[in-house]
Subunit: 418 residues, 2 copies
């Protein structure tokens, strides 16, 4: 059997499993996740030992410290996976949830019911915990999952895949509900990305190169995000007491993540008062500022921004600063340089807040709050499988609900159409 | 400039227009649609005369009577287009609608806000009214639209496109918000279907060949449906007084449409009592029955079904009938032969109704009601741009809301992340 035929066989098995999983009741799904949590704890030693082989190989291959860090599983890391499972067990099951019911003039009650999507492909890189996390979210939302991790985590993914299979079996769910693609061949991934009719959705999780590969090759539906070039706009009517802590938080609390602040926009009427204390505070926190000409007229000590700074996702303690003429200028800058990820305005002005919420084109738009809140947990989703900056189906963090579709249901009492 | 370069230029203009349209307030959008309705009425004579040239050409080319019927615009047809616009004017504007607000423990108020998708491509066949309808739905939901109709309606589409442009100009909206692709070259359509980053969604409207072409060539997101192989399942606990009128309505009221009934499934315990009166009534209405072996044991006069009947979308006064052992048998038949479109169960049984609603995999699942209700108007959407049997983003009839995405909005008072 060729590799493609094997993949097709896997996907067909996944489709069959998806039908069973869609019907599975909440207690059975939760029980299976609890069995898995128990097995992870029991076999933590074995998991860590197998993972150490991947780590050793990656070290010998001269991989970066960042990759090795993402790859490494410690006993505490395994415990975190088990805890994440227990957290997902506690979340409400979206499948079968009925909402938005209305009654038509003929007495028909029309509503929407959440139903699983079917078969979901997750393509990820070096973090082995993604396998457990993604499986749990897909299973809880009634979907089968096909997992394809990075080759550097091959052995870790294999053992986690085997443990997941055993948990499915013990829980009485079909083993094909979660399958790990052991062959990490790129051609095979391409085939997965083009398996229309067999795969309902692919979500890539990883760096820009992986995202681009998926984006360029997929013909199945995909949901993804490239990067976060996030802005805070300090309006002329900003409460400067709120602005400073928000900017510090958005830039400094965790600079390496996609919802961290990268470019600060300041209304020219607020610049003189706001920029000097801000610069002082950020300097203290070790942040390097880069400013436009108008910014440097007020903060002469800082570096000049270059054209490329407006599109940069620094993921570091660097902040670009631009003085703009007004709200329209800020919105124009965001339209041109934003990544559709996260945008925040600091203002006490009713009209400016309303316009910014509506006109800033991003998955999450905030008023008087840190960009760092664009996160599934912080927004109340309970858990997230990823974040979407593509607008179709889901925009922003995706939780259990976003792994379902909504079908119409109609409750009648014998109605016929006139 | 090559044809592809021209298309790219059109799409870039559409993107610019989409930004303006996303900001446009409801009164301005409605006013523009009202201007268009007035212009259609004023210029009805001219529209009908231009359309007559397309009709003449199609007749000379020996096109089918059905195509000529779809292509022909009468003065009454133009009035219908104007009335459809006024209907859309009356519908609530989805853009900026805030819903599902919750308050987080830190006081942040988190909600979803509906926002336009951006640029939508509509690929359709011979019905010229699609141009006006689709434009109105896209514009009202804040989206720019690129319209590509069939070559047989080229002149009709051109004049409607020009009138739409004039209405946009008079209404103060960007003319590029609606553009008609005058070149109907297939290669150009392929280019449109692959314009990732420029086109946010393509919706094809037409026959199976067109749908397949779009499905096979698109890399941009698409929403489509192929066909409707719809079932009614008469359960053992059916109220047979309800069953018969529903089946007659589902099969006979308009047999040529996608939500008409094609295959009837009958529980074996209900077959003896139900099939004879049903056969009599349907025979009177001119319906040809085709039955499985068990059906023919009760109705010996009817034709035998062949394997292909279970997958047939007759769109005609023909009904396939199969006796099944139980609800599971009915669900298995639907899983294998259904098209994800519309499924109905006739039952008084609580558990059967609940299981059918949840387990029948279709965009609309009904209890004790005719399949003919799977329609945007009947389900309360106000108007529909199409129907989706793809699960991502929309499943079932798509109205104005389905032409929007949901972004997260966060209303804060200075919160920072801990």
């Amino acid at each position: 059997m060729s590799k493609k035929e094997m993949l097709d066989k896997m996907l067909q098995a996944a489709r069959q499993a998806a039908v069973a999983l869609a019907k599975a009741e909440t207690p059975q799904k939760n029980e299976t996740l609890q069995i898995l949590a128990g097995m992870l704890r029991e076999r933590a030693g074995e998991i860590v030992a197998v993972n150490a082989k991947d780590v050793q190989k990656a070290t010998q291959a001269g991989q970066s410290a960042a990759l090795i860090d993402r790859l490494t599983l410690t006993p505490a890391g395994v415990e975190s996976m088990a805890k994440a499972l227990e957290h997902i067990i506690g979340l409400p099951d979206p499948v079968g949830e009925i909402h938005d019911m209305t009654t038509r003039p003929n007495g028909l009650r029309v509503a929407r019911m959440r139903a699983p999507l079917g078969v979901i492909g997750i393509i990820y890189e070096s973090r082995p915990n993604v396998a457990v996390d993604a499986f749990a979210l897909c299973a809880k939302s009634g979907n089968a999952v096909v997992l394809r991790g990075g080759s550097e985590a091959a052995q870790s993914n294999q053992i986690l895949g085997r443990i997941i299979s055993e948990a499915l079996e013990k829980g009485g769910l079909p083993v094909a509900a979660a399958q790990v693609l052991s062959n990490t061949d790129r051609e095979l991934v391409k085939h997965l990305l083009r398996a229309r009719g067999l795969v309902d959705l692919v979500i890539p999780r990883g760096g820009e190169r992986l995202i681009r590969f998926v984006d360029e090759n997929a013909t199945v539906p995909i949901i993804l995000h490239y990067k976060g070039v996030c802005h805070v706009f300090v309006d002329k009517d900003a409460d400067l007491e709120k602005a400073l802590p928000i900017i510090v938080n958005a830039k400094v609390q965790r600079p390496g993540v996609c919802n961290a602040l990268e470019t600060l926009l300041v209304h020219r009427n607020a610049a003189d008062e706001f920029l000097p204390p801000m610069a002082e505070e950020l300097k203290e926190k070790g942040v390097e500022l880069r400013g436009c000409e108008k910014t440097r007229a007020i903060l002469p000590d800082i570096k000049a921004t270059e054209e490329s700074d407006w599109d940069a996702e620094y993921l570091d303690l660097i902040l670009a600063v631009r003085v703009v003429d007004d709200l329209d200028g800020a919105l124009r800058h965001i339209a041109r340089h934003g990544s559709g990820h996260t945008e925040s305005i600091i203002t006490e002005n009713y009209t400016s807040a309303g316009r910014f919420l509506r006109e800033a084109d991003a998955s999450c738009v905030l008023v008087n709050a840190s960009t760092r809140f664009n996160d599934g947990g912080e927004l109340g989703l309970g858990a997230e499988i990823g974040i979407s900056t593509t607008k179709l189906h889901a925009f922003g963090p995706m939780g259990l609900r976003e792994l379902t579709t909504n079908k119409f249901i109609v409750l009648g009492s014998g109605q016929v159409r006139q």
